[in-house]
């Protein structure tokens, strides 16, 4: 049976903005749009109102695969064990502690 709520709901898109050349695209939120052209236009209207974002990406949210935080131990914790990789492990004299 068709869910009446989903019959007319526009799909969700995630928006990524690169605000200046040289930077990465940053995820800044989501919006609803019926198609890709609309998503780009809306992203421009909603997420770059105050500055000329130099590049916009929009991706249907359903197309994004995310790592499952339940697997976090497997993917990320090994790095936590290896304390010597972290800059804070090294105690620097305060005169040079700005690195």
């Amino acid at each position: 049976m068709t869910n009446p709520e989903t019959r007319t709901e526009w799909p969700l898109w995630e928006v990524f903005v690169r605000s200046r050349a040289g930077l990465d695209h940053k995820h800044c939120g989501s919006l609803h749009a019926a198609d890709a052209a609309m998503a780009i236009q809306m992203a421009r209207d909603v997420y770059t109102r105050r500055q000329e974002g130099c590049s916009l990406w929009v991706v249907p949210s359903a197309q994004i695969t995310a790592s499952d935080p339940g697997d976090k131990d497997m993917y990320f914790d090994p790095a936590e064990d290896k304390v010597y990789r972290h800059p804070t492990f090294y105690k620097l004299p305060s005169e040079v502690d700005h690195m």
Binding site: E5, T6, L12, C28, L31, A34, D35, R49, A66, G70
Partner: protein, 336 residues
């Protein structure tokens, strides 16, 4: 922008679940509590207690609804803005509010709901919005007053939420707060110009607006702490950072000086400086009025909701057409 302490949370969300919990779930709960205590952020796909999820969903979506409904009292004066500069400023402000609503709907959707479901909750009265928007904008000075007092109160409510434990909400709030200070400054500026350079009629208009908006703005911070049983849970979860009364006092203290510079009188004969407390004492708030308005019995509740429902209903054919066209395009592309 138009958040209001959502301490009017239904009781069942504040109670501990009565069912037995597995050892695994208890471990997850402990890990969750430890992260909150450490000031860590919770992201969308992290495990979270059911009540945490429901409380946040309710708070974020109601915050979003407030932004959208808030477009109406101010939008009411776009067509009558007295100069092109003021018209442009008001258009930009109301557009910002729409954008804020959008960021917040997006944040709420990360918790497992949809925009349509949230809108349906608003339209059927199950979800609330900040009660301040149930008051009418009767003059142009109301617009400046809303910027000064309502946005001012909202900023005070909002800044602590930038450190909310739920990261998508915190990120939305950071974005919103960055855009917000322009709103308050522009409102205050509009009043200052009228008070300092305008006519007697304009000055009377400003004072009249302040007389009507002052008390409802104090109510924006929610009921007194001793009548807000759910604040404690909100604090425990890192959703609520500062108490209602603390924020309200901070707002009064900041605003009294601003009012003096403007040359308006705040409509409270009991407003007096307390040397011992180093704060401004203020008069009794009409809490029965607040609860009446929250319950739907304010001057504009019915109009606001009717407007939103009408816009949504009138737009159904547009939304359907856009989807139909997108589907046709997709079919054509596949066939090609």
């Amino acid at each position: 922008m138009y958040t209001q302490a959502m301490d009017t949370m239904p009781k069942e969300l504040g109670e501990a679940p009565k069912t037995l919990r597995s050892a695994e779930e208890l471990a997850l709960q402990q890990r969750f509590d430890a992260r909150i205590d450490a000031g860590d952020f919770i992201e969308a796909k992290d495990w979270m207690p059911d009540n945490y999820r429901k409380t946040l969903l309710r708070q974020i979506s109601q915050h979003a609804h407030s932004e959208i409904v808030g477009m109406l009292p101010e939008g009411n004066w776009i067509s009558r803005a007295p100069t092109l500069k003021r018209k442009a400023i008001l258009l930009a402000k109301v557009q910002d509010e729409g954008g804020h609503g959008l960021y917040l709907y997006a944040a709420a959707e990360t918790l497992g709901t949809s925009r349509d479901q949230m809108i349906d909750a608003l339209h059927t009265g199950r979800a609330k919005y900040s009660s301040i928007f149930n008051y009418p904008t009767l003059s142009w000075a109301d617009i400046g007053t809303i910027g000064w007092l309502v946005d001012g109160a909202a900023i005070m409510n909002q800044v602590p939420i930038c450190r909310c434990s739920y990261a998508p909400y915190a990120r939305a709030m950071i974005r919103i707060c960055r855009e917000e200070s322009f709103h308050q400054r522009q409102g205050y500026d509009s009043l200052l110009v009228m008070m300092q350079q305008g006519t007697d009629a304009q000055r009377a208009m400003v004072q009249d607006a302040v007389n009507r908006w002052w008390w409802p703005c104090l109510m924006m911070f929610g009921p007194p702490d001793d009548q807000s049983p759910n604040s404690a849970q909100g604090m425990r979860w890192g959703i609520k950072r500062v108490s209602n009364d603390t924020l309200r006092q901070k707002f009064v203290d900041a605003t009294v000086d601003q009012a003096r510079v403007l040359g308006v009188t705040l409509p409270d004969p009991d407003l007096t400086w307390n040397e011992a407390r180093q704060h401004w004492d203020f008069g009794a708030i009409d809490w029965p009025e607040f609860f009446r308005v929250v319950a739907g019995d304010g001057p504009c509740n019915q109009d606001r909701l009717a407007n939103r429902v009408q816009a949504w209903d009138d737009g159904a054919w547009v939304r359907e057409a856009a989807l139909a066209h997108a589907q046709k395009q997709a079919t054509r592309q596949q066939a090609a």
